[in-house]
Symmetry: C2
Amino acid sequence: MSTDAATARLTFEVVKTACSNCNLRELCLPIGLPAEDLRRLDELVSTRRRLKRGDHLYRAGQAFESIYAVRSGFFKTDVLIEDGRDQVTGFQMTGELLGLDGISSEIHTCNAIALEDSEVCAIPFSHLEALSRQIHTLQHHFHKVMSREIVRDHGVMMLLGTMRAEERLAAFLLNLSQRFKARGYSPAEFNLRMSRDEIGSYLGLKLETVSRAFSRFQEDGLLAVHQRKVRILNTTGLRKLMTHQRG
Amino acid sequence: MSTDAATARLTFEVVKTACSNCNLRELCLPIGLPAEDLRRLDELVSTRRRLKRGDHLYRAGQAFESIYAVRSGFFKTDVLIEDGRDQVTGFQMTGELLGLDGISSEIHTCNAIALEDSEVCAIPFSHLEALSRQIHTLQHHFHKVMSREIVRDHGVMMLLGTMRAEERLAAFLLNLSQRFKARGYSPAEFNLRMSRDEIGSYLGLKLETVSRAFSRFQEDGLLAVHQRKVRILNTTGLRKLMTHQRG
DNA sequence: TGCCGTGTTTGATCCACGTCAACCCCGGGT
DNA sequence: ACCCGGGGTTGACGTGGATCAAACACGGCA
C-alpha cells in the first residue's frame, strides 16, 4: 500500500467517525451544539464498533469505560438473576445511548445485545466528563439524556405495575411507532426486530400472551401483523385501548 | 429583638444549611469531597424546606428548578395517568435525591410527597451544573447518583416483570432493611412509613395481596408485623424466598 | 426437494391475584 | 366514654394471564 493510499484511508476513517459529519447529530449527543463545539466533540468519539446480530456490545459484570451511541441497528438490554429469570429493560435504536447503567459502579449491570447487524460509536466516559466540563451545552444535554432515561423507566414501571396485557402491547407499539417516526421512517409500518419472547420479557408477559394480543388486535382491525412485520391501521383505537380503565 | 440576637440567629441558620457541617455528608451529594470543595458546595444549598406529612414537595407539571436532598423524613414519588391509575415509583429516605426526573424536560414528571414530617435541602440545578464543571469529584459523583437511579429502576422492572407477590414483598423489605442499616438504624426492626396501598402500588399489587403476604410471612415465622411496625426474624428465609424459582 | 430447528399461533386447563364485601383495630374529636 | 373514619385483615369468589401441549410457518441446509 502506498503512503498516499494510507493517508487517504486514514482521512476517510476520521471523517467517518466525526460527529460533525454524522447525519444523526440531531438525534444523538451533539443536539444543539454550535459547529465549533461539534468539532471538539469529534475528538471524543474515538472508535466505531460493528456488531453482528446476536453479538454482545457488553455484558453484565464487565468493567465500564465507555458509553455507546447507536449509529445503526437495534439493541436490547437485559438483566439476569441466578435462577434463570431475565428481564429485558429496554430496546435501543439509532441515536440512543447505551451503557449509562455502568456509571454508578464502574461495572456494567446489564447485557447489551445487538438484535440486528449494528454499528455503535464508543464514547470514553472520562473524556465525555472532561469535555462536558468545558461545553455547558454538552453537559446539560447529557444530564437531560440521563434524566430522560429515568423518566422512561418510570413509564415502564407504570406499564408493568398497572396495565393489563393488551394495554401494555398497545403502549409498546405506539412507542415504537413514534420513535420510528422521529427517525424519518413510517410510523405505521415497521419490522419488529425482537421476538415475541423478548417483547414478553420487556412487558412482563409470556410470549403466548403477546401472541394472543397481536391476534386480538388483528381481529379488531387495529393492525395487520405478519410475523415480525407490523402495520398499524388504527392509531387512535390503540391509543384509546391504552387509556381505557379496567373493570 | 436586638441586633446581636439577629446576627446570632443568622449565623446559626447559615451553619445549619452548610453541607460541610451536615452529618449526612457521607450519604449525600458531598461524598468523597475534600474539605475545600465541601465549602464551595455550601454556597449551593441555598435553602432548606420543611414539609409536613402529606405535603407535596413538587407536583407533576411544575417547572423544574432544583433537585432536593432529603435531610430528614421520608418521601414517595408517584406518577398518575388521567383515568386515575397511579404508580408509586419510589420511596426516598435521608440522604437520597429527589427531582432528577425533571431535568429532561425542565418540568417535573412525577409528584413527590412527604410521608412524614420532613426536611429537604434545595439545590438549584443550574448551580449544581456550574459547580460540577469546576469540581470533578462532584461531577462524577452526581453522574453516579443518576446512574444508580437507573440501575435501581431496572431492579424494580425486574421485580414487576418477573416476580410473584411474595417475592416482591420480600425484595421490598430486604431493600428497606438494607437502607435503614446504611443509615445506622436497625436493619431488623423498623416502622413502615407508607400504607399497604402505597406498598401495593409500588409493587404492582393490590393492598389486599400485600396484606395477605404480610400475614403469610408472619405465619411462616419470617417476620413479626403489627400494623406498620415490622421486625424481620429470618433474613435468610426472606432472601431464599426471593430467589426461589417458580413452578 | 425434503428435512430440521426455531419461532409463532392457537387451544384447553389451571392458578395467583384481583375483586367484592364484611369485619376489626386504633386514634382523634366531642 | 362514646362515636366516627380511615387503614388493615380476612374470607369467598371471579378472572386474566400462565402453563401445558399441539400444530403450524418459515428459513437454512443437505
